[in-house]
Structure formats: C-alpha cells, structure tokens
C-alpha cells in the first residue's frame, strides 16, 4: 500500500469521522430535546398531583420494616374473608396477584398462599385519581397492607378462591416491592398443560420452575402439594407412635456402603474418606438387636444413581420402619399396611381442599385402597401376567413395564391402587433376606405398590450370624466390610422385618402426579445441585 493511498484513506477517514460526529451531535440534540420535554411534562404532572391529591396519606410505599414500631394491628388472612365479615373494616396483608386499571377503577386480586380475593379501588371521595394510578402501577408479587371494607357480592367471583366477597379499599401501602420483571408468571405456572396448548397460552416448563423455585413454590398448586406432604410425614409419625414405635435418628456419614458399592457418595473425612448413607438399614437392625422392638426413622437418603427418570432423585426423605415380631413376618406386613392405610385415610379426610387444588392443574383419579390391604403372592402375580399374555419365567424379577401392567390388572380386578406382593424369588433380593422355609427358591420378602409403581421393598431379615455369613458369601460380598454388621447378631437377636418408603414418591403417587421433582421442594438429581 503506497503512501498516497494511506493519505487518501486518512482523509476519507477524517471525512467519515466528521460525518459520524455530526450524526452523533444530532442524536444528542434530539435526546436532550426529548429529555427536556419529558421533564416539562413531569413537572406539569407533579403540579397536578400536588394540587388535587386529597388522598395523599392513604397510600404510598412504606419505609422498610426494620421494627420501627410495634403496631397492635390485627391482620385478617385472605382465607378468613367470608360473608360473615361483611361491612367490617379490616386490614389484610397479601401479595398482588394481578392488577388491572379500567378508567377510574382499579381491580386488584390479592393472594395469600392458596387463597385469592378481589379488591376494588375506585376514584371517589375516599380515593383520588393519583391513588388509583398508584395502585394500578404496583408490580405483581409485591407485598401490600390494605385497609378495606368487606362487601358481599351477588354474583360469585369464579376466578378467586373467596367467591362471595370483595374488598373495597380505603388505604393501600407497600411493605415490600417486587422487581418489575418476573422470571416466570404465576398464572402460567398454574395453568393445566392441555389448556396451555389449546388456547395458545404459555405454561412454564419444569426446568424454569426449578431454577426459580422460590417463585414457583408460591403457586396455589405448590402450596397444596407441600402442605399435603407435611401431612404425610405427620400421619406417619402419629400412627406409628400410637402403635408403640420409637423414633430414632441414624448416622448418615458411615464407614462402609450398606446396600452395594456402586451407588454411594463419597465424602472426605479428615485424613480418610467416608460415605453418605444409602439407607438406615444397618442401624435400624442394630436398634432391634438393642431391644427397642419397634423403631422408625425419618431422614435423608443419598443414592448416587445416575438415573434421569421421573421417579429417581439423588437425595430424598426416607421413612423407614423396623419391627421385631413374635412368630411370623406377616405381623410386620400387617403393621406397615395398616400404617399406610391410616395415612391414606388421614389425607383423604384432612386435606380435601389441597387434593382438589392439585387436581385443578393436574387432574387424576382419586386414590383407592382396601382395608385390610390386599396381599397377593408372587406366583399369583405371575399367573395374572401370563394370562394377560406376558411371557416371563417363574423366578424372574418384575420389570418396570410388567409392574405397571400388574398394577392395572389388580386395579381392574380388585379396584385398589395400593397392594402388597409377597414371597418374591430369593435370587432377586439382597443377601440379608430370609429365605422361605418351605421353598428355598422363594423368600420372605415383599414389595408394596401404589398406582402400579413400587414404593416399598422389605423383607424378614436374617437374624442368625451363621446364615447371614453363608448368604453373603453366596453373593460374593467381602465379609471384612460387613464384619460389624454380622457381629450385631451374635449376642441374641430377635426375628425382625421392616421396610422403607420415600416421602416424595408416596406424595407423587397419591396425588397422581408424574414427576417426583414436583413433590420435592429443592430436588437433587444427577443434573441439579441448586437451588
């Protein structure tokens, strides 16, 4: 490239630059002009507002509540707004679910947990234009305190949970403002799947929900699900305590993998490493050998299974039972099934609102069960499957599709979603399962199913150190690693059996949901570690 060309280019550049500069100047001028215009407008409006605002002290943004004062004000919950409170003037704290301005009126829907109520703010002698404008501009999800008069309505408000009343707002203050852009819209999050596709409206997919779990948990459906789950836990505890069980807590940091080496998390433990417990099996049994007779424990269970399915998590809450029995392990099955039936009955009787709320977004058949629980034997199940055209061996384990088919067959014949399958073949069970006394090919073990999916695996445990050693060797397990376990049975051990369920899975199947992440508050799976 020659010098002349460079010079020419330089000149062009300069020209271009000046052109650019010109353009830039023009733009800035425009901007300044606009700004000035806006400011003038604002000033004019400000004047306006200052002039006419007689309601200035009846609305506004409160300073951050730092416990400046202790107000003795009673706040009524949205849940309690019923026609009995008509004409009363009350204070309510709730979130803004939606707000819609229409000329001189502003309609707000206020929400607290599962309940919503309509609130109305109209320009009149109590409210000024500026106040209505302020209310209409409040961001969704902001928490507000509202003083209002409860009014009965003639026509039911179908879209709210409190259908017979509405609030006529007198005062409105913001306690905590929300940012304007929400990562997901709550109306979309509660929309049933089918409806979303039909009307072309959005629904929120699972990953978005889980990434913004705090907001997703605010939806009416999530509130209902987790209240019901809390009920499951409580009913489990109450029923077992009434049966004379003792609650125990077992360690989660352990020295050797309990179920099998493959699916266990390792943690560094000072100079060595330790494992996170896959189940409280070992310690439950040691408690029985320590004469506690009937124990249960509620705690986390860690399984390092790299399965990305709809029903597996890497961490979940396990509800485990272990019980010493007198002569036959069916005493334990009866106890466990009775506990489950009490849980189902309790949920049916105490949480009908919650079940209904969940069904609105995720419709499903109500859960059916028999009392006492139906118990079928493995051979009967194989016969039923064979009659339905499935080819399988007598001692083969049930595959997941076969389990689901069996669930449907049992539902057809007995009309129950919950049943026990007893006497599994010995070959497919863990080494500590007691073999059947009359037929060495079978074992004293059982599985329980809800809606065709397995929720509990249990058995009579071998309580004889000799037999346990034999069975462990048969399964090629390193005896050194389970020495402490075998030792616990050497000083007199009662015959015992038990089993464990997963809280999330039971809630999911009871409600007829399809993914266990919906019933786990902050789920953990191979791909998710936060929130």
């Amino acid at each position: 490239m020659t010098k002349e060309n460079v010079q020419g280019a330089g000149e062009e550049e300069q020209q271009a630059q000046s052109k650019k500069a010109l353009k830039k100047q023009q733009k800035e001028a425009e901007k300044a002009a606009k700004k000035a215009e806006k400011q003038a407008k604002l000033a004019a409006e400000q004047q306006e507002t200052d002039e006419d605002d007689f309601a200035k002290d009846r609305y506004g943004i409160c300073p951050m509540v730092q416990s400046q004062q202790k107000l003795d004000r009673a706040l009524v919950r949205v849940q309690d707004l019923t026609p009995e409170k008509a004409e009363q003037q009350i204070w309510v704290r709730a979130r803004i679910h939606t707000s819609r301005a229409k000329g001189k009126q502003c309609f707000l829907v206020l929400r607290h947990q599962q309940f919503t109520v309509q609130a109305l703010l109209a320009v009149g002698e109590r409210a000024s234009k500026q106040m209505v404008k302020f209310a209409a501009n409040l961001t969704k999800e902001s928490i507000i305190d509202v003083e209002a008069v409860v009014k009965k309505v003639e026509q039911k408000i179908e879209s709210c949970s409190q259908q017979d009343v509405e609030l006529h707002v007198e005062r409105i203050f913001v306690i905590s403002q929300s940012e304007a852009r929400l990562p997901l819209q709550l109306e979309d999050a509660v929309r049933p799947e089918g409806e979303g596709d039909e009307e072309g409206r959005a629904t929120v997919n699972q990953d978005t929900r889980l990434d913004n779990r705090v907001i997703d948990l605010r939806t009416t459906t999530s509130q209902a699900i987790f209240r019901l789950q809390s009920g499951v836990c409580q009913l489990f505890r109450d029923t077992l305590i009434n049966k004379g069980f003792v609650e125990i807590q077992t360690p989660k940091i352990i020295s050797a993998a309990s179920e099998g080496g493959a699916n266990v998390f390792t943690v560094s433990y000072f100079k060595t490493s330790a494992y996170l417990a896959q189940s409280p099996q070992l310690y439950k049994q040691m408690c029985i050998c320590a004469d506690f007779d009937k124990v249960f424990c509620v705690g986390p269970v860690f399984r390092a299974e790299d399965s990305n399915t709809h029903r597996h998590l890497t961490e979940f809450v396990g509800l485990d039972i272990e019980m010493a029995f007198n002569y036959h392990y069916h005493e334990v099955i009866d106890s466990i099934t009775d506990t489950m039936v009490q849980i189902f009955k309790g949920l049916r009787d105490r949480f009908p609102t919650e079940i209904q709320t969940v069904n609105k977004q995720y419709p499903s058949e109500p859960f059916k069960f028999l009392e006492p629980t139906l118990r079928l034997e493995y051979k009967e199940a194989v016969a039923m499957l064979k009659a339905a055209g499935v080819e399988m061996g007598d001692e083969e384990d049930l595959s997941t599709p076969n389990e689901k088919l069996l669930g449907r067959l049992v539902k057809e014949k007995y009309d129950t979603d919950f049943y026990v399958l007893d006497k599994y073949p010995l070959a497919v069970r863990p080494f500590y399962t007691m073999p059947d006394p009359n037929n060495p090919k079978y074992s004293n073990s059982y599985d329980m199913f809800m809606r065709g999916e397995e929720i509990l695996s249990g058995a009579q445990r071998i309580h004889d150190a000799q037999l346990l050693t034999e069975r462990a060797m048969h399964h090629s397990i390193d005896l050194e690693k389970i020495k402490a376990y075998i030792d616990s049975f050497r000083y007199g051990a009662p015959p015992h059996a038990g089993g464990g369920i997963g809280l999330e899975r039971v809630t999911m199947l009871y409600l007829g949901l399809h993914n266990v992440r919906q019933t786990s508050m902050f789920p953990r799976d191979p791909k998710r570690l936060t929130p």
Binding site: S307, H312, H328, L370, E371, E377, K379, D415
Partner: protein, 301 residues
C-alpha cells in the same frame, strides 16, 4: 509414502456399566444376523406377527360359530310349531343335589399354580345374604380362603359385616394352600358385582346371577333341564310361595336347592317372617334347622 500413525486415544474395549432401571433395546449392530432378520429382509412376515394374526383368525372363527349357534337356537324357539314341548318331558330321577366336588379346572380355567380368587363387590347397605349362605356351603366342599375388605369409597361399615364370612382361617398366611379364594369387598356400588378372571370373563352383575355361578361350583346344578329352568324361575320370582310349599317340603320338591336359599334370604330380608303364612314359616324353620343360615341371622338386625 508411509503415513503418520497416531496412537489410539482410548483402549479398544471399554467396559460400560449399563444402568439397570432403563428399558433395554436389542442391539441393532449385533454381529452375525440371525435368520429372523434374514426373513425380514426377504419380505416374510415376523413370526410374532403371524402368531397374532392366527389368534385373531381363531377368535373371529369362534365368534362366527357362536353366532351361528345362537341363530339356530333362536329359530327353534321362535317358530310356532316348536318340536320340543316342555310338559311332555318326563322328569328324570331327582338326584341328590350336592354331588362330589365339581371339576374346578373346567369351571374356573386352568390352574396356573396360584390361588384362584373370586372377587365380589357388594354395597354394605344391601348385604347379599344368599351369597353368604353359598359361601358357607363352599367352605364345606373346598378349602376356601375368605377375606373381607372395606373399599375406600365407603367410610364405615358395621362390625357384623366385617366378620360375616366367619373367623379368619389359621392358615390364611399361606395363600397357595387353598383351592379357592373368596374375597368380599364392601364398596359403594349400585349393583352387586363379581369378578374372577378379568382377562377372559366379563364381570357378573346381580345377586341372582352370582348365586347361580357359585352354585355351579358346588356342582349342584341339576342336570335335568326341566328342573334347571324351574329353579331359574324360582330364583327370579316369588309368587305362590305358600301354595308351592304346601305341596312339598322344599321349593323344587324333595331336595333343598339354590332356589330355597335365595328365596329364604329374600323373605328374611323383607322381615315378614312373623306375618308369613303357615307353610312359609315351616319352610323357614326347616332352612334354619339345616344350619346353613346361621351366618345370616346376625346381619338381620
């Protein structure tokens, strides 16, 4: 010119641990195709598909045969000059009603080594008294595993209904030791329903029909078609009870039968025992003396 050789990045055979919880698909890259795949390539039909087609043809053929039989029967019945005149048929010797155990396999299907369970769904507001009597008779004939369940559609059931099949059998923990299962479920149903083999049998509805099925298990069905039709008549209607009982001790003659069971239960349930005519009362007393009705009386309160 020799080309550059690159060392292999990964070892030739990598051991992969396949997860056990997911569905397995057959390996489409398997070495050495078997003849099945050859056949597919040649345009022949997959043997499994062929078997399915054969089954379908078989089912259709049986349907046609059945249709032909029904048509034939309809013709013989509806033509005015029917060949068969029921009244001229001589009554066969009245055999004893309860003979040896029936061939369960022929009635209930092949024994696949598991308990054959009969499921009956009944409404607790209308307990099926006749079925309870039949259950007692069945227990005398076979080893029956009886159980009573309450369905979740019903909130509470009075205690007598829970123990209506008698005390729990000592061996009830070993289901395989029994020949027959009798599962009674108290459920919110409009009509009594019986299910046995849901794959091959349609559910039977109505107390009378279920009673007929259970009676057949007792091999007590009279072989004589005349008696059989008479029995059916009695099961379904309740007319001239007194006059019929005036002529013979039991409804069908000299032997106690299903008709007596069902009718007695109807009368007892209607609660008109004290105002019933003399013959009916005597007949009810005889039923009670047989002892089969003991399970029924506690439920009548």
């Amino acid at each position: 010119m020799p080309m550059y050789k690159v060392k292999p990045v990964s070892p030739a055979d990598i051991k992969i641990d396949l997860p056990t919880c997911m569905y397995k698909l057959p390996n489409i890259h398997a070495q050495g195709m078997n003849c099945g795949e050859h056949a597919l390539q040649n345009g022949e039909v997959d043997p499994a598909l062929k078997a399915l087609e054969e089954r379908q043809d078989e089912v259709l053929r049986r349907l046609y045969e059945l249709k032909a039989t029904v048509d034939g029967l309809a013709k013989t019945v509806t033509t005015p000059d029917a060949d068969l005149d029921a009244s001229t048929l001589s009554r066969g010797p009245a055999e004893s009603v309860f003979r040896a155990t029936a061939d369960l396999d022929s009635l209930l299907g092949k024994d696949l080594g598991a308990l054959r369970d009969i499921v009956i769904n009944a409404n607790p507001a209308h307990p099926p008294l006749s079925l309870l009597v039949l259950h007692a008779l069945l227990c005398q004939r076979y080893q029956v595993l009886s159980s009573v369940h309450v369905h979740s559609s019903v909130s509470a059931v009075p205690p007598p209904l829970l123990s209506c099949l008698g005390p729990r059998h000592i061996d009830s923990y070993a289901r395989q030791r029994f020949q027959l299962g009798f599962t009674l479920i108290w459920k919110d149903v409009s009509k009594l329903q019986m299910k046995f083999n849901t794959q091959s049998m349609y559910p039977i509805e109505g107390e009378a029909n279920v009673a007929r099925f259970l009676f057949r298990l007792l091999s007590a069905e009279p072989q004589d078609p005349v008696l059989a039709t008479q029995m059916d008549c009695w099961i379904d209607t309740l007319r001239s009870l007194n006059s019929a009982l005036g002529r013979s001790p039991w409804l069908l003659g000299q032997e106690f039968s299903l008709a007596d069971i069902v009718c007695a239960c109807c009368v007892l349930r209607a609660g008109q025992t004290t105002s019933a005519p003399a013959n009916v009362q005597r007949w009810l007393q005889s039923c009670q003396n047989l002892g089969h009705f003991d399970c029924v009386y506690p439920l009548l309160q």
